[in-house]
Symmetry: C2
Subunit: 329 residues, 2 copies
């Protein structure tokens, strides 16, 4: 499903609707009290690289279910995106990635030590933005989310390789990697907007399921995407020895596939092998099966919206799910 004229237009509508808020979020993110010039330049570079800003949009749309954005909601949206940016910086170091969003990573242009410290600084700035919400519960959710993300990443890096062939393990990994941050965005925004508790819970679950689908689509794109549109090479996950949902479905149909087996056995540095594996998975029905899983998560996420206040914010949240299914980068 390519993006349709309709879907692109609807995204433009959402962005126009939120434009004033999103600009305030950008301003807040860039208001880093940095005096050390090289770090300032590096952080500017990171923030200018942009990204989809889907996490701040989730915060703002959730807030708009209940009220206009205030200073605290802007701070929360900036905090979530800053936390996301900080995790990217350390991820790129850990993976040794040299490209992100089509531009060189900090890791590629700087030393590991600078990368560690810049990531730490951005964590601290995210915490400082979270503190600007002046909401203790929001801050506790923040801390819990970062713990989930770190433990998940450690599991992924150092956990039992055999466990990776288990679908439950995959879902646990992508929850920690992506869905937990979406959950943070919607749950914390609902708390801050003083939503009734059952609605906080519904929005929290909405965030989790949207995030699960978002990561499944990301994992599909690692096989079906175009390197130029993605801003990074395809087959990256296999190259890092990472088994994702398309591979799990592929292996169900082709147990003991020799190409995948060799990669699992440690030949993830062999580029011909990676290319061949990407071809095999891309041309199998595993892609459609994985997409069906993503769609199931989106449908469930949308079901959580049913009892929320009607209006454009709810429509936009519903529509974000459709956009996730139409991702091409």
């Amino acid at each position: 499903m390519p993006p349709t004229a309709h879907s692109v237009q609807a995204l433009v509508h959402i962005q126009e609707w939120l434009q004033g808020d999103l600009e305030q979020v950008e301003t807040r993110m860039r208001a880093i009290p940095l005096t050390f010039e090289p770090l300032k330049t590096a952080v500017d570079h990171l923030l200018r690289a942009g990204g989809k800003r889907i996490r701040p949009m989730l915060v703002l749309l959730t807030g708009r279910l209940y009220r206009e954005a205030d200073e605290a909601m802007i701070a929360l949206a900036a905090a979530v995106e800053m936390l996301h940016t900080a995790t990217l910086v350390h991820d790129d170091l850990i993976d040794g990635s040299l490209l992100r969003r089509g531009i060189p990573t900090l890791n590629a242009i700087w030393t590991p030590a600078a990368t560690v410290l810049t990531g730490d600084y951005l964590f601290a700035y995210a915490a400082s933005l979270a503190a600007q919400t002046e909401n203790v519960r929001v801050m506790a959710i923040f801390a819990r989310t970062l713990m989930t993300i770190c433990e998940g990443e450690l599991r992924q890096q150092f956990g039992d390789r055999a466990a990776m062939l288990d679908r439950e393990d995959y879902f646990r990994r992508i929850y920690a990697k992506t869905a937990a941050m979406f959950e943070l965005a919607t749950e914390a925004a609902a708390v801050l907007a003083r939503a009734p508790e059952p609605q906080v819970e519904a929005l929290r679950r909405y965030g989790v399921d949207l995030g699960m689908a978002f990561q499944i689509m990301d994992d599909i794109l690692d096989f079906t995407g175009e390197a130029q549109v993605l801003g990074k090479p395809v087959g990256n996950d296999l190259r890092q020895g990472l088994i994702t949902l398309p591979v799990l479905f592929y292996l169900e149909e082709h147990p003991g596939d020799p190409v995948i087996d060799r990669i699992l056995a440690g030949s993830s540095g062999d580029e011909d092998l990676i290319r061949e594996a990407v071809e095999r998975v891309r041309n199998s029905k595993a892609i459609a099966q994985a997409r069906a899983e993503a769609e199931a998560f989106i449908r469930r996420s949308q079901s959580y919206l049913e009892n929320l206040p009607e209006g454009p914010a709810r429509e936009a949240l519903r529509f974000l799910g459709e956009l996730v299914l139409r991702r091409d980068h």
Copy 2:
């Protein structure tokens, strides 16, 4: 000045007085909600390694000026020590240090990726403990402190080498490296204990000056200490190309000293040169001059205690300064 029987005894008194609280702090630190076994083991290893626990003592003593420790104060003391532990993990990675407190660093026994992530996890856990204070201002101080520490470390790693020969630059570095965390301990504890604002400010300044002296003594011990007592080799700072106060004083007396010059020019990997430099500084009057600076900070820190509530907590805080001047590790 070696530790006297009197000073050791007084420290024992303070520790006995705080024992119940300190045990609660340890329990709180170890109550990490970890399910991933290798990480759990690594964190246990780190926490068992101990340390002086001076930062939790500062929190508890500051709190005791006003009231008995409650759950929030215990959480703050644990949060400060956890933040300190997290920074040590990343520091050891950045410095490539293999020993800390006489035992192998995480960096030495594990991979850089695991070390980055474990440090991140501990930052998150520190933030979670800070959130348990349920005090927004405390959390904001926390975030600000971590930003100060990271920016200082980046400056130290990547700043202008020539600036290192400037004494103001040295003081700025040790503020970020050490004194900011002491400041966090006393300021946040005073806020949590609902101290009157002028006393919060006095305690904040006390923390800064005590921390400055603590770091100067640390920098002196890097020349005069015994590797076995320190739990790490002497001359470590020079080995990392780091200029500290004893060297600055030494260079005032011996401008253009050829041994120091060669180290500054990049020969910090030459062990014979390091040994010779350590000998020269150790046998010069730079050590006494640096110690006099530390003493001046301690005297000023004690002056901030004058208008605080009288009693054993204030006596203990005053005495901590004396102990800092008598550090041998």
